[in-house]
Every structure is written in C-alpha cells, then in structure tokens.
Symmetry: C2
Subunit: 452 residues, 2 copies
C-alpha cells in the first residue's frame, strides 16, 4: 500500500520533470512529506536530485529532506549544490543532524562549511563533532528544553509557549544553578498544579540519564527497556548536555541490527554507504572471505592426508559435502542464537553453562535424526551397511560437536572483546569442517576392512 | 555499567531471599524499576520468581513487571500464581499488554481469566484478541485520548487534567460525531491559543494513520520513517480504534530483526519462547536442516558421478572444500544484503537489475582475487601449474556464479511471497555447491592429460 503510493508519486514527478513543469513540481514538492521526497529521490540520478532539491520550496523543508536521505548520497549531492545554498540548508538543520551530515563529507568541504556557518551554530556542531562516533554524545541534540528548579509553574508554561525552536517537547528537564540535571516534569503535570508552585516541589528527582560517552547501542537498550521517549545526556559531573529522542534511538536500533546481520555474513555496514562501487565493496568483503579461504585450504590438507583411505573406498566421497555442510549449518544456528542473544541482552555470561548444555542436547537430538536418515541413504545407495554405520556415526558426532563449538567459539570471541558477529562464522565453519572430516575418516579407517 | 547494576541488585535480592528477610525485600522491590525487576527475575527459578512477585508491593507495579517479563516465562508463572491474585494483576495491565499476555497462555487458562475479568475489560481484551497476530490491531492500545472537534480548548485542558488513565499523552486526537478521526493537536498547541477556540479551528487535519489490518512491520517502518511518537489505528471507514505508541514499535522492530536473523540461520523466533526445551527446539530447527541435508546428498551424488576423474587425479580432493565453501560464503553475503535490503526498504524490485549487475561485478573481482590466491597455493603445493589453472578457473567461476545466484534465488522467493530469510540460504548453498563441483570437475576433466 505504502510502496504503491511512492510509485504513483514517482511517476508524477518523473512526468513533470520531463515536461520541465517547474511550477507544478514546486507545488507538488511543497505537499509531499519530506521523508517521502527523500524516498522518491532514490529513483532519480544525482542531477535530477539536485534539480528536485532546488525546486523544493522552503529551506526548512529542504533541510528535512536532506536529513532523511541515505547518508551514502550526501557527499555527491553536497558537491553538486551551490555552496551558499548548501550552507543555508545546513543552517536550518537540527544541530545533531548537521553534525552527522558534515561528518559524512570529505574533510576539506566539511571544514569550509563549518567556517561559513554562523558562529553560534558552528560552535554547536563542532562541539558535537568532538564526540566519538557511536557514543551518546555523537547522536544527542543540544536543543534540549530545560528550566531552573526555582521558577514557578506559571513561568514554565510561558517559557513553553515561546519554545517553538524545540521540535518535540514532552518532558521538561529541571536543572539547578550549576546546570546539573536535578529533575523532570511531564507537560501534563504543569497543567494540574497551582501556577505559583515551584518546579522543585513537583518535579520527579529520579531521572534516567546517560553519560555522553556511553555506547549508542547501550543507550538504545535502555530506552527500549524503560519505554522512554527521550533520555537526557549528562557529563561526568551530571551537567545536562543534550537529549536523545526516541526517533534517533529507532535509527540506532535498525542500524545496529543491520550491522549484526551484515557482519555475520562477513561484510560490514560500511557497504551500505558505497552504493554501487564494486571495487570498494569487494575490498570490504575480501578479508573475511580470505580468512575462510585459509580455513578451506586447511580442511583440504586434512582430506589430502586421508587420501589413502579415500582411494581404497571411493564411495566415501559421496558423503563429504553433506557431513561438512551439516556441521557448518548447525554450528551457524547455535552461533547465531548466541550472537543475537548477546546483542539483545537475552543471554549473558552467567547463563552460558545452561546455554551450552541446551545446545549440546539439541545438537545430539538433531544429530541422531540426521544420522539415522543419512545412514539409511548410505546403506541403500551403496548397498553396504557398514558404510551406513560410518556415515551415521560421523554425522551424529559432527553435528553434536558443531553445536558445542558454536557456543564455545562465539562466547570466546565475546569474552575477549572481539565482535562475535564478525569473527564467529569463519572460525565455527573451519573448526567444524575439520572435526567433521577427521571424525568421518577416522571412523572409516577403523571400519576399512568391512568397506572394501 | 548497566549490567553491573543488575548484578549488584541480583546479589542483594538473593541474599535477602536466603535470609527470608521479607520486609527488606518488599522495601527493595518497591524501589527497583519494574523493568529491572523483570530483568532480575531471569536469574531466579520459577518458585523464587513467584515469591518475589508476591512480595512486590502495589498491584500496578506487579502488572508492569509481568508485562516486561520475557513472554516465554508467562505460562509457567501464570500457572503457579494464585488465580485471584493473577486476575487482579491482569486487571491493572493496559489492555494491549493483557491481550498479549492472555494470548500466550494455554487456551483453557486464558478463557477462565477472560471470564473472571470484569466485563468492560474483558470486552476490550477479547476485542483485541480478535485481531490477527502481527497486525496493527493486535498491538494497538484502545486507551487512546481523543476529543470531539466541537469542544473548546478550555474543555480540552480540563479533560486532559482528568486523564490520568492515559499513560502517555503527547497528542490529542480529534474526532467528529461519528468517531471518525479528523484531526490532531499537540499539547503545546493547546497552551498557545485563547481558551475559547474550538479544536476544529486549530487542529491539523493531515493525520498519519494506519488501518487495523496493516502488518506490524509496515507500521514500524512508517513510524521510523516519519519520526512519529504514536500513530492512530482506524478501521476501513476511518473510525478511530486505538493507538500504537513508539515503545511498542521499538519492540516490533527488535522482534522483526531477531526474526530475520534467526530465520536466516534456519530456525525461528518461536525458539525464544521455548527456553531450554531441547526436543521442541530440535523439532523447530530440523525441517530446514533436513532440506540442506538433501542438498548435501545431491552434491555428493554429483561427486560420485565424477569419481573416475577423482580416482585418476587424487590431488583434486584437496580443493573441494575450499571451492564449495567459498561459493557458499559469497552466495550467503549477496543473499544477506538482499534479505536485509528488502526488510528495511532499501531495496525494491525496481532496482533489482542494478543490484544484480553490482553483485556480478563484485563477485567477479572477489573471484579473481581468490582465484589467483588459490591457483598459487595449488601450483606450489602439488607442483603442477595445470592444477593451479584448474583450481583458479573453478574458483573464479564458482564465486561469480554464487554472487549472481544469491541475488536471483533471494529475489525469486521474495517475488513468489516466500520469506527469503528462511528459504534463501539452503537453496543458495545447494545451488552453489552443485555449480562449484560441476565447474571444478569439468575443468579438471578437460585438462586431465596434463594433471596425471
């Protein structure tokens, strides 16, 4: 339904662009939601994007569109737009958005823009650029609505009525004279007490807050856990620095999930910034691939080592792919359960023994089922019950070991501080290939007299 | 930092429990945030959980704790708690929470509770239970604060002051006399106009809304895209039914990401509800594993078919794992990029040709790099340049084909309406194993005279 709407809009805008119907385009772009304009722009090339941005009425609107665009398209558009026009757009952005935007640009362009911005805004932006990426400080907005604890409710309401600069006010944060965060009030509370009450008397003093150096993923987990709409950011002395709102948290959560998914497949979230740049994408994916390549060569060496057995009983060849493959799959399942468990906080190290035992049991059950199936297939296919036995035993062992290794390797990487989403998969896979082949061929060597 | 806090709390509560220090426990549980109590409970067995819940002061608080618990623990706790106590807790829950809670219970227990609830609440809950799972209707709350368009701002503020039942009011929704949603107001707007103004005169009539049958994932995408705090739910005639708030959307987004990650690994989000029940978990994972097992047997049959070549040139065996493995990895990367792209809306079918061409190029580049590396390894190891050539050519082709298949298979499943997160991986893997082996052995057969 929603996608259809975008497609209809795209058709209309394309037609108007082709006809050069400038005034109609302006009218249309003035009515479409900025997030939808940003979505639409994906379907046009960068020159058309430039034209459409220039035709969008109202600088605030253009700033909203730019902020909603995919970050990978920012540098190209920024280079194309007239410099003064670009600066006046950035001027309309919220300071957290403009910091993220400027951070994405080539260094020299970013600096030129910082210099050209009006002093007060560039101070705010430079200040935000000073925080490390992926910390609370780097995603907060400094536009936070706060009042001193000694003022009255009447004054608070008046201040609120003048607060048009603050887009989303749902809580009023209360500070002392040294700017320490001391309390919080909801808007509704202000409506339900006598106008002369001091804020200090009605505020709630138990305010959830985060330090500016907290990891953004942890911030997102807190906001999700406590169902917050916004969380104030303080420095190490408890002074109020800014505010992270739930819409930013949603972006963080989506990005962190994407990050985990892409890392598990051996690539990275940076890939999304590269668009269609094949060489750079290949460079990003290659280190992980080459690691698994080494693992594959190690497994191959092992098979070379068992070549005598294989030459004697060539039918063993038929079950190599299924044994290594199944080990890899089961190890991957277990590892995935752990990676996601760590990421969402469902699993922590205090439960690791229980999780290990569970995966051991699950692996054993699945191994038995798959082992019996494959033993049947092997016995019937090659008319040799001993082959069935060898393949079956190898399958049960390989799957059980794989399930255990999935837990051990993933937990190990987590423990030593390496992101298990990146590291687990190649290692789990290689370890399982090796144990699978070893178990298979040593069982086969044991039963060699019955197989030939 | 946050984890440490939980651990300290856990230590304290354990100690108090062992000592049977009931009144201290009560005091402590009265101060800990309900979400933290829910988190803590994970570390205790179900009987201790029952004791702790019963000691938690204030039914509203207990209801909050229960709502924040992992859904997999609900049925067990519900069975253990005194029936009347349980019902009085559910009575304190928001109706959307209690609907989800009751949905998780065994049918007969759920029905008994519905009967025992006071009439008005059980009507609301039964009404919510009527919506299909994973639709907007099933996650909305019916506690939505709305006013008629004809009332004045003064009356609206008075109504707001009496609105303690509505936990999170940030927007006031405005309806006509037939309950159609016609407008929306922010709280601040109410403060900035004369008290006699009619709501109809100041409300914004362009209200984002969703239909009750919209998929919850689509709702989450809308809320994320338009940075909303809440979105009203309407029926097909535009009548206001309920409200979905951003905290529910965060849960949906997290669940959908987990769902995709687990499905890609061949298990399902249901696994998280099964705790440590090994048999049921194994049953959940087995269908996908058995599918890949069939794929492995097919690959094995193919290798059996080429056994004559293999017997003549046994050194070919050393590179089978690396060629099938790398194909599987590259196919997995491409497929993951697509699965996540479809899920977040970054990729749609209009771009599929571009994406295919990009992956083809990326695959070719990565194939060339890996091919050259492995050709070098093969030539040096077995002192045979032709073997290097065969292995290298097979690697380039296998990786390039794998990258293309990753796009084709994933897009195909998406197109025919099968979730590509579940289906892609086994198919991509099998197709790649087969093409990898075929390319490898046919090249080898071609160069057979030079290899022996």
């Amino acid at each position: 339904m929603h996608e259809q709407k975008i497609q209809v809009l795209q058709g209309t805008v394309s037609k108007l662009l082709r006809r050069n119907a400038t005034s109609n385009l302006k009218k249309a772009l003035g009515k479409i939601h900025p997030a939808d304009i940003a979505h639409l722009l994906r379907y046009f090339d960068v020159h058309e994007q430039k034209t459409l941005l220039e035709l969008t009425p109202d600088l605030q609107r253009v700033a909203d569109v730019l902020a909603e665009l995919e970050p990978d398209s920012w540098p190209q558009i920024a280079e194309l737009l007239d410099r003064d026009y670009l600066i006046s757009i950035i001027h309309e952005m919220a300071d957290d958005d403009s910091a993220v935007f400027i951070r994405s640009l080539p260094d020299d362009l970013g600096e030129q823009i910082l210099i050209a911005l009006h002093d007060d805004q560039s101070d705010d932006v430079e200040y935000l650029l000073g925080y490390e990426e992926e910390t609370a400080g780097s995603i907060m907005s400094t536009d936070v609505f706060f009042l001193n604890q000694d003022i009255s409710v009447r004054h608070a309401i008046e201040a609120l009525q003048d607060s048009e600069d603050y887009e989303m006010v749902f809580y009023v944060y209360v500070t002392d004279e040294h700017n320490h965060l001391v309390g919080v009030l909801s808007l509704r509370q202000l409506l339900t007490v006598p106008p002369t009450t001091k804020l200090a008397d009605i505020m709630s003093t138990n305010v959830m807050r985060v330090r500016s150096d907290m990891d953004q993923e942890e911030v997102a987990q807190m906001v999700a856990k406590y169902n917050l709409l916004a969380i104030p950011v303080v420095d190490d002395q408890g002074k109020l620095l800014g505010l992270i709102t739930v819409d930013d948290v949603i972006d963080v959560m989506r990005d962190e999930a994407t990050e985990d998914i892409l890392r598990m497949a051996g690539t990275s979230e940076e890939e999304l910034l590269l668009g269609y740049k094949s060489f750079q994408i290949a460079r990003l994916r290659l280190p992980w691939l080459l690691t698994t390549l080494v693992g594959g060569v190690v497994t191959g060496t092992l098979m070379w080592y068992y070549r005598a057995t294989l030459e004697q009983v060539i039918m063993l060849i038929s079950f190599i792919p299924v044994i290594t493959g199944m080990g890899g799959n089961v190890g991957g399942q277990t590892s995935t359960i752990l990676v996601r468990g760590f990421a969402t906080g469902r699993i922590d190290f205090s439960m690791i023994r229980q999780v290990f035992l569970k995966e051991l049991r699950v692996g054993l059950i699945m191994g038995l089922v798959c082992g019996i199936v494959i033993a049947g297939v092997a016995s019937i296919w090659h008319q040799n019950l001993y082959l069935g036995l060898v393949v079956g035993v190898a399958m049960v062992t390989a799957i059980t070991v794989a399930a255990c290794m999935g837990v051990v390797v993933t937990a190990f990487f987590k423990k030593i501080g390496v992101d298990p989403a990146i590291a687990s998969s190649p290692f789990v896979q290689t370890v399982n290939d090796i144990t699978g082949i070893m178990i298979y061929f040593s069982t086969a060597t044991l039963f060699l007299p019955y197989l030939t």
